[in-house]
């Protein structure tokens, strides 16, 4: 099983290297280490979000409200910064995490306590959180000139030659790696996805664990909210509109099974990088950015076809055959 997982990520990594190779035949500077660092930095937010979504999907749930959460939390910190520029950035990040946590906990409570399917809950909160952003801001934007220099500059400051944004992404990746491979919580997240009934009998509180994963994805949404707003230096109701599907796309390309239980931190990161490379490469090789949507759509379909082929070898054949027939 473990060897197999590695196998899949190696293939994805190989696909990414081939992709970079293909791009550099038309634009050699793309494979430049400096440029690749830039691509990594550009993709940081998507990687962080994909990891938050991953833990939810692993438990056979889905969080469609992440982009709206991002929008709301980002608006909260942007308005706080505009009104009180003296608040230090670390405190703002903690506030963003807390706001995201509350929004995620609302999702989690509805899923845990009322047993409403997560797709229904987050479909509802997707519109509610974005609407709440409008109510909060009165429809107004927070522009760059209202944000403090620290607010904008924090993630751009270089540390050891790499921007803080990239360091945050690396830190989050490391935390998720430890969570998924070295903690009991990580193990129970996988267990619930593979077999919820058996998980109950092994003493895992399925409802509570689902609540926790929604809290995690909520906090990630909040963190990404600050990062997004300070990166694109505008906070409005339209921020990250429809982005929830990009996050899920990154997970799917990364080999995370929507049926739960299958997927890894490396997969989610590589899936996000794959999308990030495409969106960075299109302009430099003179392909209209309007192609991006169709290309990522094709990549999703291709990835799910390949992943399904991989899963089929694992002996779930009986069920699958029936569904497919």
């Amino acid at each position: 099983m473990k060897a197999f997982l590695k196998y899949r990520e190696i293939w994805l990594a190989a696909a990414i290297i081939v992709l970079i190779g293909l791009i550099s035949t038309r634009f050699p500077a793309f494979a430049d280490p400096g440029n690749l660092r830039q691509v990594f930095n550009d993709t940081s937010i998507l990687m962080i979000l994909a990891l938050g979504q991953m833990v939810v999907i692993l438990t056979r749930s889905i969080d469609l409200s992440m982009a709206s959460n991002l929008c709301f939390s980002g608006m909260v910190v942007a308005m706080l910064n505009a009104a009180h520029p003296a608040i230090p950035i670390p405190l703002l990040i903690v506030i963003a995490l807390a706001v995201g946590l509350v929004l995620g906990a609302i999702n989690g409570l509805l899923v845990w306590r009322l047993n409403i399917p997560s797709i229904v809950v987050t479909l509802g909160t997707l519109t509610i959180y974005r609407g709440a952003t409008f109510v909060l801001s009165g429809g107004a934007w927070v522009n760059a000139d209202k944000m403090s220099p620290d607010f904008i500059g924090f993630q751009r400051a270089a540390f050891l030659g790499i921007p803080v944004l990239s360091w945050i992404a690396i830190l989050v990746i490391a935390l998720f790696f430890v969570l998924m491979t070295r903690t009991a919580l990580g193990r129970s997240i996988y267990a619930i996805g593979v077999n919820p009934t058996a998980s109950v009998y092994t003493g895992i509180d399925v409802g509570r664990t689902k609540f926790i994963v929604f809290c995690i994805s909520g906090m990630i949404g909040g963190l990404a909210g600050y990062l997004w707003i300070s990166r694109y230096v505008i906070a409005s109701v339209e921020v990250a509109n429809g982005y929830e599907l990009n996050i899920i796309a990154a997970c799917v390309i990364g080999g995370i099974s929507i049926a739960g239980g299958i997927g890894s931190v490396g997969g989610a990161v590589l899936g996000a990088l794959f999308l990030g490379i495409i969106s960075n490469a299109l302009p430099v090789i003179n392909i209209s950015p309007f192609w991006q949507m169709a290309i990522s759509g094709s990549a999703i379909i291709l990835a799910v076809v390949l992943n399904a082929r991989g899963e089929r070898q694992q002996g779930r054949i009986i069920l699958r055959k029936v569904e497919a027939a």
Binding site: V120, L123, I301
Partner: protein
């Protein structure tokens, strides 16, 4: 004078149907609809006007048409997130045909055929390759709308023939629009299909237990394929209506409709897990969503705030019976 004892009442059925009818999902929706209707009538003097009410119907007819097919699809345990993208692609194709000088009948045909084709593509991927529909249709959602973006970029198609405007703007009689008539006809057709044919029973059977359905001789794959085709077809029809109503095509047309359609279906009492639901519920949910958005619109509430109400409505209506049952169970 002796009293003749009254004949003993022998029930010919349990009294459950009446009680279950009162506590049914549809009854709850009717109450909600009446409440919202009443609130609207009090809140705005412009609401109770035949022309206002006629305008109201445009808020839900297009999405409602797709919601019927989507209801069947969700009952069978699948989902289609690509419906709005199908609208965009079909509309773009119609726009291309207009530039080539196509007439109204050809345009309608193109819209419907493109919709059907997209639905069949989804259906093939899901049933032939055995892929999870939620992922497949997230992919095709990007793919279909992506093709529309490749063709159109930031441009727009205009210049639809005047006769084409009838589908989205025309009235059949007085204030009864063509869209509303189509919606009602589709409601009856889908009600019959789901609740009165063996096909409908098979859809429920698949949703409740696909394996058991397969072993009972139901062709699970084929029926799911048909349902994807139907959803594509309805999206194509909706695309004709929207394009006709707007009179232009942009690649961002109908953005976000997929979630509204699914909200409508779930609000209508269709179980997102499959196996349960009714067309009457979906019709009522369509009316409710139309009433909410139109009523708030009359009060100058911005669209984004309306979406809060739709979202709250969705969660509250679903949570209410669960909380109710739990409270009764604990007492």
């Amino acid at each position: 004078m002796t009293d003749i004892p009254a004949p003993r009442h022998i029930p010919d059925r349990l009294d459950k149907p009446f009680r279950s009818a009162i506590f049914s999902w549809e009854a709850l929706l009717v109450v909600v609809a009446i409440a919202i209707f009443a609130i609207n009538s009090f809140a705005s003097p412009y609401f109770l006007d035949p022309y206002s009410l006629s305008d109201l119907t445009f808020n839900f007819t297009e999405k409602g048409l797709i919601a019927f097919a989507m209801a069947l699809l969700i009952i069978s345990g699948e989902i289609d997130l690509s419906v709005a993208a199908i609208i965009a692609l079909a509309s773009t194709m119609m726009g291309m045909a207009v530039q080539a000088g196509a007439g109204t009948p050809v345009l309608v045909l193109i819209g419907i055929v493109v919709g059907l084709g997209c639905g069949a593509f989804n259906g093939l991927l899901v049933t032939r390759l055995g892929l999870p529909s939620i992922v497949v249709t997230i992919g095709t959602m990007s793919l279909f709308r992506g093709i529309a973006f490749i063709i159109l970029g930031d441009q727009a198609y205009k210049g639809y023939p005047e006769s084409f405007a009838f589908f989205g703007q025309g009235y059949v009689w007085w204030v009864v629009s063509f869209e509303l008539v189509l919606f009602l006809i589709a409601a009856v057709v889908y009600w019959f299909l789901l609740h009165r044919t063996s096909f409908g029973r098979r859809v429920f059977a698949i949703g409740n237990n696909p394996v058991a359905a397969q072993f009972s001789g139901v062709r699970v794959g084929r029926i799911k394929f048909i349902l994807f085709c139907l959803t594509g077809l309805m999206s194509g029809i909706a695309s004709v209506l929207i394009t006709s109503r707007l009179g232009s095509t942009r690649p961002s047309i109908a953005q976000g409709y997929e979630l509204e359609v699914i909200t409508m279906v779930v609000l209508g009492g269709v179980s997102i897990l499959g196996g349960a639901g009714s067309i009457v519920g979906v019709v009522l949910a369509a009316f409710i969503m139309g009433l909410v958005t139109f009523g708030l619109g009359l009060l100058n509430v911005p669209g984004i705030v309306m979406s809060i109400f739709i979202g709250l409505l969705l969660i509250i209506v679903i949570a209410l019976p669960i909380v109710w049952r739990r409270l009764r169970g604990s007492s």
